[in-house]
Subunit: 205 residues, 2 copies
């Protein structure tokens, strides 16, 4: 008899693979099945290399003790890079945001990964975020400016306010990302909040 | 200096993981980055189990020598199941279609996975498909009916015609899936081909 498994395929092993693949962001049960089939069709060229890459990465990559970035070395390559501006710290919600800023090559200073934003709804308080280590870094010395690159949401704004308050005694300059219409953005598809922020922050042409 | 890598993160290892994840169906560079981050956030709970599941599956799962299904045993669990109807073979394009039919629990006979359909454009000829092994199975004996469950496309129809011709000498009944409006399908969103097929194949109410 075929075991009555929900995947409809005969092997527990493949079912387990599909269940794990389905946990990846953007993957549903259906796309996980397609991914599993693609892997099964090319074990030597894709499935084993991917398994090895995951194992190697899981064993090698650690959060940086200074900024929270993920890297194979600790402190990370950004914190130990003497060519970066040591006096500016850009505070981000997560590593994805740090990567996005690095891809854009717009920030030549250091980073600090908060690990989230304050959220009453999700029950995230200051103790759940890497706030104390940020204050310790700023207190320790050379920081001239802290750039709050937090999401343009209510929780992001709350977190920015909170950090601004906590950083005030240090006397360090605290700045935020500008808000407005994104590059290439058509006005008629922007939400009201973006239009209001863009109009309020208008500059001489 | 930060190495000038396209992913923007500092590690070759993570870049390699992202590049491999991006090869999965439905994954772009962006979703592969999100998947890599999710894996990095939970090495013990997700990344290592997934790596192990892939390695175990790659080592254990093989195509069935009889029908082409993928299973940890060869011949597969369907071919060796004495409770299945041994006289009916359902011919499918790929293992994904076999899984879909098994999930629906609508076919209690055997299968034959062609491994594709004939395609002049993609240069797929009869020798590229598991046609001879299908004919050999039918010639060998008990088969009473071959159900062609091929895609309702031009290539699928060409392949069905070709197989029908090749199977004719055996005297075995050859049938095809019905075409029509799918369950729950609203008429006004159906394409013309589906509406034409459904009207042509109309039945007494």
């Amino acid at each position: 008899m075929m075991p009555p498994d929900p995947g409809g395929n005969a092997t527990d092993q493949v079912d387990r693979l599909i269940a794990l693949l389905a946990k990846l962001p953007g993957m549903g049960r259906r796309s996980a099945r397609r991914a599993a089939l693609k892997l099964l069709r090319d074990p030597a060229g894709l499935m084993l290399p991917l398994a090895d890459a995951m194992r190697a990465t899981a064993e090698a990559v650690r959060p940086c003790r200074i900024c929270g970035n993920l890297d194979t070395q600790d402190p990370c390559r950004i914190c130990t890079d003497p060519n970066r501006d040591q006096e500016t710290i850009c505070v981000v919600e997560g590593v994805a945001d740090l990567w996005a800023l690095e891809r854009a090559r717009v920030h030549r200073g250091l980073y600090h990964v908060l690990g989230g934003v304050l959220s009453a709804l999700a029950g995230v308080g200051p103790d759940d975020l890497r706030v104390e280590s940020l204050l310790a870094r700023v207190r320790a010395g050379d920081t001239r400016e802290v750039i709050l690159a937090l999401p343009a949401t209510v929780d992001g704004a709350t977190t920015a306010h909170y950090l601004h308050d906590r950083l005030r005694p240090s006397g360090t300059a605290v700045t935020r990302l500008a808000q407005g219409v994104p590059m290439g953005g058509a006005l008629d598809v922007m939400d009201d909040g973006t239009l209001a922020a863009a109009l309020k922050a208008r500059r001489p042409a």
